[in-house]
Symmetry: C2
Subunit: 123 residues, 2 copies
């Protein structure tokens, strides 16, 4: 998967999904968040905050969801998702029981990512 954005510390990727869903990986492989140098942890939290604000602004979702598991591949990464009442899993997490067959009509994630990258490059 090509990175939407990257620097020496982190990279951001798109998760293919019916909902807007991005993932932030550390460039170096750390197993747990507490092993990540504080400066990079703070950068990740700032990125989650920026992505959340941009998702709310662009998609007006019903809720933002954030998670870091890494049980299959022990490399710290964060998921950030814009959730909608009519998506396939709401109000369950995206890893939960499917609730319905959804057919969301959402603005293109490519345009969202362009805007996000402009915002990150400004900062």
């Amino acid at each position: 998967m090509a990175a939407v954005y990257e620097n020496e510390n982190i990279r951001i990727e798109i998760e293919e999904s019916e909902i807007p869903w991005l993932k932030i990986f550390t460039q170096h492989t750390y197993k747990e968040m507490s092993e990540v140098p504080r400066e990079i942890r703070m950068e990740i939290y700032d990125l989650l905050d920026t992505i959340e604000r941009e998702m709310i602004d662009h998609y007006a979702p019903d809720k933002i969801n954030i998670a870091s598991f890494g049980n299959y591949v022990p490399h710290v990464h964060w998921h950030i998702m814009a959730r909608f009442k009519e998506d396939s899993y709401f109000p369950e997490p995206m890893w939960g029981t499917k609730q319905r067959e959804a057919s969301l009509l959402l603005p293109d994630i490519g345009e969202f990512c362009e805007r996000l990258v402009s915002r990150l490059k400004e900062a």
Copy 2:
């Protein structure tokens, strides 16, 4: 549920589970993390970091999992869980498909919480 620890900004509760699982709530009801004042966001991230380190030290889990959903009740809260290869859902998230009937033998969470609270009061 009685709080394990609280101050004017946050409270920490235990989620009843086979695994060590704590939740951090903001005292004031915010829907999204980006609505939480920066100072309290940073306090939450520091708490997640402290709890993660204490869980690793006390339980030697296979992985730490962290998540913030709030789809049922739109009040920002964070889950932090110590996961084990032999728990009922591993490697799936705790919201995923059950993998097995587990019978974990873990140190008591009461003792863990006492140690955590001492650590938080020192800080």
